[in-house]
Assembly symmetry: C2
Homo-oligomer: 308 residues x 2
Amino acid sequence: MTQLITALAGGVGAARFLTGLVRVIEAENLTIVVNTGDDVEMHGLHVSPDLDIVTYTLAGIVDTTRGWGIEGDTFHFLEMLKRLGVEAWFALGDKDLATQIYRTTLLRQGKRLSEVTATLANVLGVNSRILPMTDDHFETRIVTEHGAIHFQEYLVKRQAQDRVLNVEFVGADLAKPAPNVVEALRAADLVVLCPSNPIVSMGTILSVKGIRDALLRSEARKVAVSPIVAGAAIKGPAPQLLRGLGMEVSAYSVAKLYSDFLDIFVIDNADLSERERIEKLGLEVRVTNTIMRTFEDKVDLAKTVVEG
Amino acid sequence: MTQLITALAGGVGAARFLTGLVRVIEAENLTIVVNTGDDVEMHGLHVSPDLDIVTYTLAGIVDTTRGWGIEGDTFHFLEMLKRLGVEAWFALGDKDLATQIYRTTLLRQGKRLSEVTATLANVLGVNSRILPMTDDHFETRIVTEHGAIHFQEYLVKRQAQDRVLNVEFVGADLAKPAPNVVEALRAADLVVLCPSNPIVSMGTILSVKGIRDALLRSEARKVAVSPIVAGAAIKGPAPQLLRGLGMEVSAYSVAKLYSDFLDIFVIDNADLSERERIEKLGLEVRVTNTIMRTFEDKVDLAKTVVEG
Protein backbone atom coordinates (compact mmCIF):
# COMPACT_ATOMS: atom_id res chain seq x y z
CA MET A 1 0.00 0.00 0.00
CA THR A 2 1.26 3.43 -0.89
CA GLN A 3 1.88 5.50 2.20
CA LEU A 4 1.48 9.24 1.67
CA ILE A 5 3.73 11.24 3.96
CA THR A 6 3.66 14.95 4.71
CA ALA A 7 6.61 16.35 6.62
CA LEU A 8 6.87 19.71 8.34
CA ALA A 9 10.40 21.03 8.03
CA GLY A 10 12.72 23.79 9.13
CA GLY A 11 16.27 23.95 7.80
CA VAL A 12 19.42 21.96 8.51
CA GLY A 13 18.06 19.47 11.08
CA ALA A 14 15.00 18.71 8.99
CA ALA A 15 17.03 18.31 5.82
CA ARG A 16 19.37 15.81 7.43
CA PHE A 17 16.39 13.79 8.62
CA LEU A 18 14.77 13.95 5.17
CA THR A 19 17.93 12.53 3.59
CA GLY A 20 17.22 9.33 5.50
CA LEU A 21 13.46 9.46 5.02
CA VAL A 22 13.64 9.47 1.21
CA ARG A 23 15.66 6.24 1.44
CA VAL A 24 12.99 4.35 3.32
CA ILE A 25 9.93 5.63 1.45
CA GLU A 26 9.13 6.57 -2.14
CA ALA A 27 10.27 10.18 -2.60
CA GLU A 28 7.26 10.72 -4.91
CA ASN A 29 4.92 10.07 -1.98
CA LEU A 30 6.49 12.75 0.18
CA THR A 31 5.26 16.33 0.53
CA ILE A 32 7.33 18.71 2.62
CA VAL A 33 5.84 21.85 4.12
CA VAL A 34 8.68 24.24 4.86
CA ASN A 35 9.04 27.15 7.26
CA THR A 36 9.30 30.55 5.59
CA GLY A 37 9.47 32.64 8.76
CA ASP A 38 13.25 32.92 8.22
CA ASP A 39 12.82 34.37 4.74
CA VAL A 40 14.62 37.64 4.45
CA GLU A 41 15.16 40.44 1.95
CA MET A 42 18.90 40.64 1.48
CA HIS A 43 20.55 43.03 -0.99
CA GLY A 44 17.17 43.37 -2.70
CA LEU A 45 16.82 39.60 -3.09
CA HIS A 46 14.19 37.31 -1.59
CA VAL A 47 16.18 34.68 0.31
CA SER A 48 14.35 31.58 1.58
CA PRO A 49 16.92 29.78 3.72
CA ASP A 50 14.86 26.76 4.77
CA LEU A 51 13.29 26.17 1.36
CA ASP A 52 16.77 26.23 -0.16
CA ILE A 53 18.28 23.88 2.39
CA VAL A 54 15.49 21.35 1.86
CA THR A 55 15.60 21.71 -1.94
CA TYR A 56 19.38 21.50 -2.20
CA THR A 57 19.42 18.52 0.15
CA LEU A 58 16.81 16.54 -1.77
CA ALA A 59 18.50 17.53 -5.05
CA GLY A 60 21.74 16.09 -3.70
CA ILE A 61 23.67 19.31 -4.14
CA VAL A 62 23.73 20.62 -0.57
CA ASP A 63 27.04 21.31 1.08
CA THR A 64 26.86 18.45 3.55
CA THR A 65 29.55 19.83 5.83
CA ARG A 66 27.80 23.15 6.45
CA GLY A 67 24.31 21.72 5.99
CA TRP A 68 23.29 24.72 3.86
CA GLY A 69 24.31 26.21 0.53
CA ILE A 70 25.56 24.39 -2.53
CA GLU A 71 28.42 21.93 -2.55
CA GLY A 72 31.67 23.41 -3.86
CA ASP A 73 30.30 26.92 -3.87
CA THR A 74 32.58 29.96 -3.65
CA PHE A 75 32.05 33.29 -1.91
CA HIS A 76 33.61 35.75 -4.36
CA PHE A 77 30.46 37.83 -4.59
CA LEU A 78 30.41 38.27 -0.83
CA GLU A 79 34.11 39.16 -0.67
CA MET A 80 33.65 41.85 -3.30
CA LEU A 81 30.53 43.17 -1.61
CA LYS A 82 32.54 43.63 1.59
CA ARG A 83 35.30 45.34 -0.38
CA LEU A 84 32.65 47.76 -1.64
CA GLY A 85 31.90 48.58 1.97
CA VAL A 86 28.55 46.83 2.10
CA GLU A 87 27.53 45.12 5.32
CA ALA A 88 27.31 41.47 4.36
CA TRP A 89 26.77 39.24 7.36
CA PHE A 90 24.53 36.74 5.60
CA ALA A 91 26.54 34.19 3.66
CA LEU A 92 25.36 33.82 0.07
CA GLY A 93 27.53 31.64 -2.12
CA ASP A 94 28.04 32.50 -5.77
CA LYS A 95 25.97 29.55 -7.02
CA ASP A 96 23.42 30.02 -4.26
CA LEU A 97 23.00 33.58 -5.50
CA ALA A 98 21.62 32.24 -8.78
CA THR A 99 18.72 30.72 -6.83
CA GLN A 100 18.07 33.98 -4.99
CA ILE A 101 18.20 36.07 -8.16
CA TYR A 102 15.99 33.66 -10.10
CA ARG A 103 13.49 33.46 -7.24
CA THR A 104 13.39 37.25 -6.94
CA THR A 105 12.91 37.67 -10.68
CA LEU A 106 10.01 35.21 -10.73
CA LEU A 107 8.37 36.79 -7.66
CA ARG A 108 8.66 40.24 -9.29
CA GLN A 109 6.96 38.76 -12.35
CA GLY A 110 4.02 37.96 -10.09
CA LYS A 111 4.69 34.27 -9.47
CA ARG A 112 3.84 32.97 -6.02
CA LEU A 113 6.53 31.58 -3.75
CA SER A 114 4.95 28.12 -4.03
CA GLU A 115 5.20 28.27 -7.82
CA VAL A 116 8.81 29.41 -7.66
CA THR A 117 9.60 26.66 -5.17
CA ALA A 118 8.08 24.04 -7.47
CA THR A 119 10.01 25.40 -10.45
CA LEU A 120 13.32 25.26 -8.58
CA ALA A 121 12.69 21.77 -7.18
CA ASN A 122 11.67 20.53 -10.60
CA VAL A 123 14.67 21.90 -12.48
CA LEU A 124 16.99 20.49 -9.80
CA GLY A 125 15.46 17.04 -10.13
CA VAL A 126 13.74 16.77 -6.75
CA ASN A 127 11.14 13.98 -6.76
CA SER A 128 9.29 15.02 -3.63
CA ARG A 129 6.90 17.95 -3.47
CA ILE A 130 8.21 20.98 -1.58
CA LEU A 131 5.70 23.58 -0.40
CA PRO A 132 6.32 26.81 1.47
CA MET A 133 4.06 26.99 4.52
CA THR A 134 2.59 30.18 3.06
CA ASP A 135 2.87 32.39 -0.01
CA ASP A 136 2.14 35.41 2.17
CA HIS A 137 4.49 37.67 4.05
CA PHE A 138 5.53 36.06 7.33
CA GLU A 139 8.47 37.21 9.37
CA THR A 140 9.82 35.76 12.57
CA ARG A 141 11.13 38.46 14.90
CA ILE A 142 13.00 37.95 18.10
CA VAL A 143 12.27 40.50 20.79
CA THR A 144 15.49 41.37 22.59
CA GLU A 145 16.59 44.18 24.88
CA HIS A 146 17.51 46.08 21.69
CA GLY A 147 14.05 45.71 20.22
CA ALA A 148 12.42 43.23 17.84
CA ILE A 149 14.90 42.04 15.20
CA HIS A 150 14.54 39.70 12.24
CA PHE A 151 15.31 36.11 13.17
CA GLN A 152 18.25 36.03 10.74
CA GLU A 153 19.69 39.12 12.35
CA TYR A 154 19.34 37.50 15.76
CA LEU A 155 20.82 34.17 14.63
CA VAL A 156 23.43 35.04 12.01
CA LYS A 157 24.44 38.64 12.55
CA ARG A 158 24.25 38.67 16.35
CA GLN A 159 25.05 34.97 16.75
CA ALA A 160 22.09 34.33 19.09
CA GLN A 161 23.86 36.28 21.83
CA ASP A 162 20.91 38.48 22.87
CA ARG A 163 18.61 37.52 25.68
CA VAL A 164 15.28 36.47 24.16
CA LEU A 165 12.32 38.32 25.65
CA ASN A 166 9.70 37.14 23.21
CA VAL A 167 9.13 35.83 19.70
CA GLU A 168 6.82 37.55 17.22
CA PHE A 169 5.35 36.16 14.02
CA VAL A 170 4.73 39.22 11.87
CA GLY A 171 2.02 38.48 9.31
CA ALA A 172 0.73 35.36 11.04
CA ASP A 173 -2.73 36.89 11.41
CA LEU A 174 -3.09 37.29 7.64
CA ALA A 175 -0.97 34.46 6.26
CA LYS A 176 -2.88 31.66 4.57
CA PRO A 177 -1.45 28.20 4.01
CA ALA A 178 0.10 27.90 0.54
CA PRO A 179 -1.88 25.92 -2.04
CA ASN A 180 -1.92 22.15 -1.32
CA VAL A 181 -0.62 22.48 2.26
CA VAL A 182 -3.90 21.75 3.99
CA GLU A 183 -4.77 19.15 1.35
CA ALA A 184 -1.44 17.39 1.89
CA LEU A 185 -2.04 17.25 5.64
CA ARG A 186 -5.55 15.88 5.12
CA ALA A 187 -4.54 13.29 2.55
CA ALA A 188 -1.48 12.01 4.41
CA ASP A 189 -1.29 8.61 6.06
CA LEU A 190 1.61 9.90 8.12
CA VAL A 191 2.55 13.42 9.16
CA VAL A 192 6.10 13.88 10.39
CA LEU A 193 7.38 16.86 12.34
CA CYS A 194 11.09 16.88 11.59
CA PRO A 195 13.63 17.51 14.35
CA SER A 196 13.47 21.27 13.83
CA ASN A 197 13.28 24.21 16.18
CA PRO A 198 9.89 23.92 17.98
CA ILE A 199 9.44 27.72 18.11
CA VAL A 200 10.87 29.30 14.95
CA SER A 201 10.53 26.34 12.53
CA MET A 202 7.62 24.17 13.69
CA GLY A 203 6.01 26.98 15.67
CA THR A 204 5.84 29.22 12.63
CA ILE A 205 4.28 26.53 10.44
CA LEU A 206 1.75 25.65 13.15
CA SER A 207 0.85 29.33 13.57
CA VAL A 208 -0.36 29.68 9.98
CA LYS A 209 -4.13 29.75 10.21
CA GLY A 210 -5.67 26.43 9.23
CA ILE A 211 -2.56 24.29 9.54
CA ARG A 212 -2.93 23.28 13.18
CA ASP A 213 -6.61 22.73 12.60
CA ALA A 214 -5.85 20.52 9.60
CA LEU A 215 -3.51 18.48 11.81
CA LEU A 216 -6.18 18.12 14.50
CA ARG A 217 -8.69 16.91 11.93
CA SER A 218 -6.35 14.78 9.84
CA GLU A 219 -6.69 11.04 10.28
CA ALA A 220 -2.98 10.62 9.62
CA ARG A 221 -0.68 9.19 12.25
CA LYS A 222 1.33 12.17 13.54
CA VAL A 223 4.90 11.64 14.61
CA ALA A 224 7.42 14.20 15.82
CA VAL A 225 11.14 13.81 16.37
CA SER A 226 12.53 15.76 19.30
CA PRO A 227 15.16 18.33 18.36
CA ILE A 228 16.14 18.53 22.04
CA VAL A 229 18.44 15.84 23.38
CA ALA A 230 19.54 15.78 27.02
CA GLY A 231 18.40 19.36 27.57
CA ALA A 232 20.32 20.79 24.63
CA ALA A 233 19.69 21.39 20.95
CA ILE A 234 21.65 19.38 18.42
CA LYS A 235 21.94 22.62 16.48
CA GLY A 236 20.60 26.15 16.70
CA PRO A 237 19.10 28.41 19.31
CA ALA A 238 16.17 26.28 20.52
CA PRO A 239 17.34 26.40 24.17
CA GLN A 240 17.59 30.20 24.17
CA LEU A 241 14.16 30.51 22.59
CA LEU A 242 12.45 27.98 24.87
CA ARG A 243 14.00 29.65 27.91
CA GLY A 244 13.09 33.10 26.61
CA LEU A 245 9.47 32.01 26.40
CA GLY A 246 9.59 30.67 29.94
CA MET A 247 9.74 27.00 29.01
CA GLU A 248 11.95 24.23 30.23
CA VAL A 249 14.60 23.07 27.76
CA SER A 250 13.62 19.43 27.41
CA ALA A 251 12.13 16.90 25.04
CA TYR A 252 9.07 17.03 27.30
CA SER A 253 8.63 20.76 26.59
CA VAL A 254 8.61 20.09 22.87
CA ALA A 255 6.18 17.19 23.21
CA LYS A 256 3.84 19.44 25.19
CA LEU A 257 3.83 22.02 22.38
CA TYR A 258 2.54 19.38 19.95
CA SER A 259 0.46 17.24 22.34
CA ASP A 260 -2.95 18.51 21.17
CA PHE A 261 -2.56 16.83 17.77
CA LEU A 262 0.43 14.48 18.10
CA ASP A 263 0.28 10.68 18.33
CA ILE A 264 3.90 9.61 18.65
CA PHE A 265 6.96 11.41 19.97
CA VAL A 266 10.45 10.11 19.15
CA ILE A 267 13.10 10.91 21.75
CA ASP A 268 16.76 10.10 22.06
CA ASN A 269 18.11 7.27 24.20
CA ALA A 270 19.67 9.97 26.38
CA ASP A 271 16.17 11.11 27.31
CA LEU A 272 14.77 7.77 28.43
CA SER A 273 13.93 9.36 31.78
CA GLU A 274 11.54 11.73 29.97
CA ARG A 275 9.46 8.86 28.67
CA GLU A 276 6.97 8.67 31.48
CA ARG A 277 6.30 12.43 31.61
CA ILE A 278 5.67 12.49 27.87
CA GLU A 279 3.43 9.41 27.94
CA LYS A 280 1.31 11.23 30.50
CA LEU A 281 0.59 13.83 27.81
CA GLY A 282 -1.21 11.02 26.04
CA LEU A 283 1.53 10.28 23.53
CA GLU A 284 3.20 7.09 22.43
CA VAL A 285 6.94 7.47 22.95
CA ARG A 286 9.63 5.85 20.83
CA VAL A 287 13.17 5.88 22.16
CA THR A 288 16.08 5.58 19.75
CA ASN A 289 19.27 7.27 18.60
CA THR A 290 18.18 10.63 17.15
CA ILE A 291 21.63 12.10 16.65
CA MET A 292 22.30 11.69 12.94
CA ARG A 293 26.06 11.34 12.67
CA THR A 294 26.15 8.90 9.78
CA PHE A 295 23.95 8.12 6.83
CA GLU A 296 22.94 4.91 8.59
CA ASP A 297 21.83 6.94 11.61
CA LYS A 298 19.54 8.94 9.35
CA VAL A 299 18.04 5.86 7.73
CA ASP A 300 17.54 4.14 11.09
CA LEU A 301 15.81 7.18 12.54
CA ALA A 302 13.56 7.44 9.49
CA LYS A 303 12.61 3.77 9.87
CA THR A 304 11.67 4.34 13.51
CA VAL A 305 9.49 7.26 12.45
CA VAL A 306 7.63 5.54 9.63
CA GLU A 307 7.10 2.13 11.21
CA GLY A 308 3.47 1.28 11.94
CA MET B 1 50.14 74.85 -15.06
CA THR B 2 47.46 72.38 -14.17
CA GLN B 3 45.77 71.05 -17.25
CA LEU B 4 42.16 69.98 -16.69
CA ILE B 5 41.16 67.17 -18.97
CA THR B 6 37.69 65.82 -19.70
CA ALA B 7 37.49 62.57 -21.62
CA LEU B 8 34.46 61.06 -23.32
CA ALA B 9 34.59 57.30 -23.02
CA GLY B 10 32.90 54.11 -24.12
CA GLY B 11 34.12 50.76 -22.82
CA VAL B 12 37.14 48.59 -23.57
CA GLY B 13 38.91 50.82 -26.12
CA ALA B 14 38.46 53.92 -24.01
CA ALA B 15 39.63 52.18 -20.87
CA ARG B 16 42.82 50.96 -22.51
CA PHE B 17 43.56 54.49 -23.68
CA LEU B 18 42.81 55.92 -20.21
CA THR B 19 45.34 53.52 -18.68
CA GLY B 20 48.02 55.40 -20.60
CA LEU B 21 46.47 58.82 -20.08
CA VAL B 22 46.56 58.64 -16.28
CA ARG B 23 50.32 57.98 -16.54
CA VAL B 24 51.04 61.20 -18.42
CA ILE B 25 48.70 63.55 -16.53
CA GLU B 26 47.55 63.90 -12.92
CA ALA B 27 44.65 61.49 -12.46
CA GLU B 28 43.02 64.05 -10.13
CA ASN B 29 42.71 66.48 -13.04
CA LEU B 30 40.81 64.02 -15.20
CA THR B 31 37.04 63.82 -15.52
CA ILE B 32 35.62 60.99 -17.61
CA VAL B 33 32.13 61.19 -19.08
CA VAL B 34 30.99 57.66 -19.81
CA ASN B 35 28.42 56.24 -22.22
CA THR B 36 25.38 54.70 -20.53
CA GLY B 37 23.50 53.76 -23.69
CA ASP B 38 24.68 50.17 -23.17
CA ASP B 39 23.21 50.00 -19.67
CA VAL B 40 20.87 47.09 -19.37
CA GLU B 41 18.49 45.54 -16.88
CA MET B 42 19.72 41.98 -16.43
CA HIS B 43 18.15 39.53 -13.95
CA GLY B 44 16.57 42.53 -12.23
CA LEU B 45 19.92 44.29 -11.84
CA HIS B 46 21.02 47.59 -13.34
CA VAL B 47 24.21 46.76 -15.25
CA SER B 48 26.38 49.63 -16.54
CA PRO B 49 29.01 47.92 -18.70
CA ASP B 50 31.00 50.99 -19.76
CA LEU B 51 30.99 52.65 -16.34
CA ASP B 52 32.25 49.41 -14.84
CA ILE B 53 34.99 48.91 -17.42
CA VAL B 54 36.26 52.44 -16.88
CA THR B 55 36.00 52.19 -13.08
CA TYR B 56 37.64 48.77 -12.83
CA THR B 57 40.40 49.88 -15.21
CA LEU B 58 41.24 53.02 -13.26
CA ALA B 59 40.99 51.07 -10.00
CA GLY B 60 43.54 48.63 -11.37
CA ILE B 61 41.28 45.61 -10.93
CA VAL B 62 40.08 45.09 -14.49
CA ASP B 63 40.69 41.76 -16.17
CA THR B 64 43.26 43.04 -18.64
CA THR B 65 42.97 40.02 -20.94
CA ARG B 66 39.24 40.41 -21.53
CA GLY B 67 39.25 44.16 -21.04
CA TRP B 68 36.10 43.95 -18.91
CA GLY B 69 35.13 42.44 -15.58
CA ILE B 70 37.30 41.95 -12.53
CA GLU B 71 40.65 40.23 -12.55
CA GLY B 72 40.54 36.68 -11.23
CA ASP B 73 36.76 36.61 -11.21
CA THR B 74 34.81 33.36 -11.42
CA PHE B 75 31.52 32.58 -13.15
CA HIS B 76 29.86 30.19 -10.71
CA PHE B 77 26.73 32.32 -10.43
CA LEU B 78 26.28 32.23 -14.18
CA GLU B 79 26.87 28.47 -14.38
CA MET B 80 24.21 27.86 -11.73
CA LEU B 81 21.80 30.25 -13.40
CA LYS B 82 22.10 28.24 -16.61
CA ARG B 83 21.60 25.03 -14.64
CA LEU B 84 18.35 26.55 -13.35
CA GLY B 85 17.29 26.95 -16.97
CA VAL B 86 17.64 30.72 -17.08
CA GLU B 87 18.80 32.31 -20.30
CA ALA B 88 22.10 33.91 -19.36
CA TRP B 89 23.95 35.26 -22.36
CA PHE B 90 25.42 38.27 -20.59
CA ALA B 91 28.57 37.37 -18.68
CA LEU B 92 28.47 38.58 -15.09
CA GLY B 93 31.34 37.39 -12.91
CA ASP B 94 30.76 36.58 -9.27
CA LYS B 95 32.71 39.60 -8.00
CA ASP B 96 31.30 41.80 -10.74
CA LEU B 97 27.86 40.84 -9.49
CA ALA B 98 28.58 42.60 -6.21
CA THR B 99 28.89 45.86 -8.15
CA GLN B 100 25.60 45.24 -9.96
CA ILE B 101 23.75 44.33 -6.79
CA TYR B 102 25.14 47.27 -4.84
CA ARG B 103 24.37 49.68 -7.71
CA THR B 104 20.83 48.34 -7.99
CA THR B 105 20.28 48.60 -4.24
CA LEU B 106 21.45 52.23 -4.19
CA LEU B 107 19.35 53.14 -7.24
CA ARG B 108 16.29 51.58 -5.60
CA GLN B 109 17.02 53.69 -2.53
CA GLY B 110 16.63 56.73 -4.78
CA LYS B 111 20.30 57.52 -5.41
CA ARG B 112 21.15 58.79 -8.88
CA LEU B 113 23.45 56.84 -11.17
CA SER B 114 26.05 59.62 -10.89
CA GLU B 115 26.04 59.32 -7.10
CA VAL B 116 26.34 55.53 -7.27
CA THR B 117 29.18 55.85 -9.79
CA ALA B 118 31.05 58.24 -7.49
CA THR B 119 30.54 55.93 -4.52
CA LEU B 120 31.90 52.93 -6.40
CA ALA B 121 34.88 54.84 -7.83
CA ASN B 122 35.67 56.24 -4.40
CA VAL B 123 35.54 52.94 -2.53
CA LEU B 124 37.71 51.32 -5.22
CA GLY B 125 40.31 54.06 -4.91
CA VAL B 126 39.89 55.76 -8.28
CA ASN B 127 41.50 59.23 -8.26
CA SER B 128 39.80 60.57 -11.39
CA ARG B 129 36.20 61.67 -11.51
CA ILE B 130 33.88 59.31 -13.39
CA LEU B 131 30.50 60.66 -14.54
CA PRO B 132 27.74 58.86 -16.41
CA MET B 133 26.70 60.91 -19.45
CA THR B 134 23.20 61.05 -17.96
CA ASP B 135 21.29 59.93 -14.89
CA ASP B 136 18.22 59.48 -17.04
CA HIS B 137 17.00 56.46 -18.93
CA PHE B 138 18.84 56.12 -22.21
CA GLU B 139 18.90 52.96 -24.26
CA THR B 140 20.71 52.28 -27.50
CA ARG B 141 18.70 50.06 -29.81
CA ILE B 142 19.85 48.53 -33.04
CA VAL B 143 17.19 48.24 -35.70
CA THR B 144 17.58 44.94 -37.52
CA GLU B 145 15.41 42.86 -39.79
CA HIS B 146 14.03 41.27 -36.61
CA GLY B 147 13.06 44.61 -35.11
CA ALA B 148 14.75 47.05 -32.74
CA ILE B 149 16.80 45.21 -30.13
CA HIS B 150 18.86 46.42 -27.17
CA PHE B 151 22.47 47.07 -28.12
CA GLN B 152 23.68 44.37 -25.71
CA GLU B 153 21.34 41.87 -27.31
CA TYR B 154 22.69 42.83 -30.73
CA LEU B 155 26.32 42.72 -29.62
CA VAL B 156 26.54 39.96 -27.02
CA LYS B 157 23.58 37.65 -27.55
CA ARG B 158 23.46 37.83 -31.35
CA GLN B 159 27.19 38.50 -31.76
CA ALA B 160 26.62 41.49 -34.07
CA GLN B 161 25.48 39.12 -36.82
CA ASP B 162 22.33 41.01 -37.84
CA ARG B 163 22.33 43.52 -40.63
CA VAL B 164 22.03 46.98 -39.11
CA LEU B 165 19.19 49.04 -40.58
CA ASN B 166 19.31 51.89 -38.11
CA VAL B 167 20.34 52.91 -34.61
CA GLU B 168 17.89 54.39 -32.11
CA PHE B 169 18.64 56.26 -28.91
CA VAL B 170 15.58 55.67 -26.73
CA GLY B 171 15.27 58.44 -24.15
CA ALA B 172 17.66 60.83 -25.90
CA ASP B 173 14.93 63.45 -26.25
CA LEU B 174 14.45 63.61 -22.48
CA ALA B 175 17.87 62.74 -21.09
CA LYS B 176 19.75 65.56 -19.42
CA PRO B 177 23.51 65.54 -18.88
CA ALA B 178 24.39 64.20 -15.45
CA PRO B 179 25.48 66.78 -12.86
CA ASN B 180 28.94 68.23 -13.59
CA VAL B 181 29.12 66.92 -17.17
CA VAL B 182 28.54 70.25 -18.90
CA GLU B 183 30.64 72.04 -16.29
CA ALA B 184 33.52 69.62 -16.84
CA LEU B 185 33.39 70.23 -20.59
CA ARG B 186 33.33 73.99 -20.08
CA ALA B 187 36.12 74.03 -17.51
CA ALA B 188 38.45 71.69 -19.39
CA ASP B 189 41.66 72.78 -21.06
CA LEU B 190 41.57 69.65 -23.13
CA VAL B 191 38.66 67.42 -24.15
CA VAL B 192 39.56 63.97 -25.40
CA LEU B 193 37.26 61.67 -27.34
CA CYS B 194 38.67 58.23 -26.59
CA PRO B 195 39.02 55.65 -29.38
CA SER B 196 35.49 54.37 -28.84
CA ASN B 197 32.69 53.45 -31.18
CA PRO B 198 31.66 56.69 -32.95
CA ILE B 199 27.98 55.68 -33.07
CA VAL B 200 27.09 53.78 -29.91
CA SER B 201 29.69 55.19 -27.50
CA MET B 202 30.60 58.71 -28.64
CA GLY B 203 27.38 59.15 -30.60
CA THR B 204 25.26 58.44 -27.56
CA ILE B 205 27.17 60.90 -25.36
CA LEU B 206 26.99 63.56 -28.07
CA SER B 207 23.25 63.00 -28.46
CA VAL B 208 22.49 63.97 -24.86
CA LYS B 209 21.00 67.44 -25.08
CA GLY B 210 23.49 70.13 -24.10
CA ILE B 211 26.67 68.05 -24.44
CA ARG B 212 27.42 68.78 -28.09
CA ASP B 213 26.55 72.40 -27.49
CA ALA B 214 28.91 72.54 -24.51
CA LEU B 215 31.66 71.13 -26.74
CA LEU B 216 30.95 73.75 -29.42
CA ARG B 217 31.14 76.54 -26.85
CA SER B 218 34.03 75.16 -24.79
CA GLU B 219 37.36 76.90 -25.25
CA ALA B 220 39.16 73.61 -24.60
CA ARG B 221 41.31 72.04 -27.26
CA LYS B 222 39.31 69.05 -28.52
CA VAL B 223 41.16 65.95 -29.63
CA ALA B 224 39.73 62.65 -30.82
CA VAL B 225 41.50 59.35 -31.41
CA SER B 226 40.22 57.34 -34.34
CA PRO B 227 38.82 53.93 -33.38
CA ILE B 228 38.99 52.97 -37.07
CA VAL B 229 42.34 51.83 -38.43
CA ALA B 230 42.79 50.87 -42.07
CA GLY B 231 39.05 50.57 -42.61
CA ALA B 232 38.45 48.25 -39.68
CA ALA B 233 37.69 48.60 -35.99
CA ILE B 234 40.31 47.54 -33.48
CA LYS B 235 37.44 46.04 -31.52
CA GLY B 236 33.67 45.96 -31.72
CA PRO B 237 30.97 46.47 -34.32
CA ALA B 238 31.82 50.00 -35.52
CA PRO B 239 32.14 48.89 -39.17
CA GLN B 240 28.73 47.21 -39.15
CA LEU B 241 27.15 50.28 -37.56
CA LEU B 242 28.82 52.83 -39.84
CA ARG B 243 27.85 50.76 -42.87
CA GLY B 244 24.32 50.29 -41.57
CA LEU B 245 23.96 54.06 -41.33
CA GLY B 246 25.21 54.47 -44.89
CA MET B 247 28.68 55.70 -43.98
CA GLU B 248 32.08 54.70 -45.22
CA VAL B 249 34.16 52.68 -42.75
CA SER B 250 37.17 54.97 -42.42
CA ALA B 251 38.97 57.30 -40.06
CA TYR B 252 37.65 60.08 -42.27
CA SER B 253 34.05 59.07 -41.57
CA VAL B 254 34.68 59.33 -37.85
CA ALA B 255 36.44 62.70 -38.19
CA LYS B 256 33.47 64.00 -40.14
CA LEU B 257 31.09 63.03 -37.33
CA TYR B 258 33.09 65.21 -34.91
CA SER B 259 34.24 67.96 -37.30
CA ASP B 260 31.78 70.61 -36.10
CA PHE B 261 33.52 70.88 -32.71
CA LEU B 262 36.82 69.02 -33.07
CA ASP B 263 40.28 70.60 -33.33
CA ILE B 264 42.63 67.64 -33.68
CA PHE B 265 42.12 64.12 -34.99
CA VAL B 266 44.65 61.40 -34.21
CA ILE B 267 44.90 58.64 -36.81
CA ASP B 268 47.03 55.57 -37.16
CA ASN B 269 50.16 55.38 -39.31
CA ALA B 270 48.23 52.93 -41.47
CA ASP B 271 45.84 55.74 -42.39
CA LEU B 272 48.40 58.28 -43.53
CA SER B 273 46.58 58.46 -46.84
CA GLU B 274 43.48 59.78 -45.01
CA ARG B 275 45.35 62.80 -43.71
CA GLU B 276 44.56 65.18 -46.54
CA ARG B 277 40.85 64.39 -46.65
CA ILE B 278 40.57 64.94 -42.90
CA GLU B 279 42.55 68.16 -42.97
CA LYS B 280 40.07 69.44 -45.53
CA LEU B 281 37.41 69.11 -42.79
CA GLY B 282 39.34 71.86 -41.02
CA LEU B 283 41.08 69.59 -38.54
CA GLU B 284 44.66 69.26 -37.45
CA VAL B 285 45.73 65.65 -37.99
CA ARG B 286 48.27 63.76 -35.92
CA VAL B 287 49.56 60.48 -37.25
CA THR B 288 50.97 57.90 -34.86
CA ASN B 289 50.62 54.31 -33.71
CA THR B 290 47.10 54.04 -32.24
CA ILE B 291 47.06 50.28 -31.75
CA MET B 292 47.71 49.80 -28.04
CA ARG B 293 49.48 46.47 -27.81
CA THR B 294 51.76 47.30 -24.92
CA PHE B 295 51.66 49.63 -21.95
CA GLU B 296 54.26 51.80 -23.73
CA ASP B 297 51.93 52.07 -26.75
CA LYS B 298 49.22 53.42 -24.45
CA VAL B 299 51.52 55.96 -22.84
CA ASP B 300 52.90 57.09 -26.21
CA LEU B 301 49.41 57.54 -27.64
CA ALA B 302 48.34 59.51 -24.56
CA LYS B 303 51.39 61.77 -24.97
CA THR B 304 50.48 62.44 -28.59
CA VAL B 305 46.96 63.35 -27.50
CA VAL B 306 47.86 65.72 -24.67
CA GLU B 307 50.81 67.50 -26.27
CA GLY B 308 50.23 71.19 -27.00
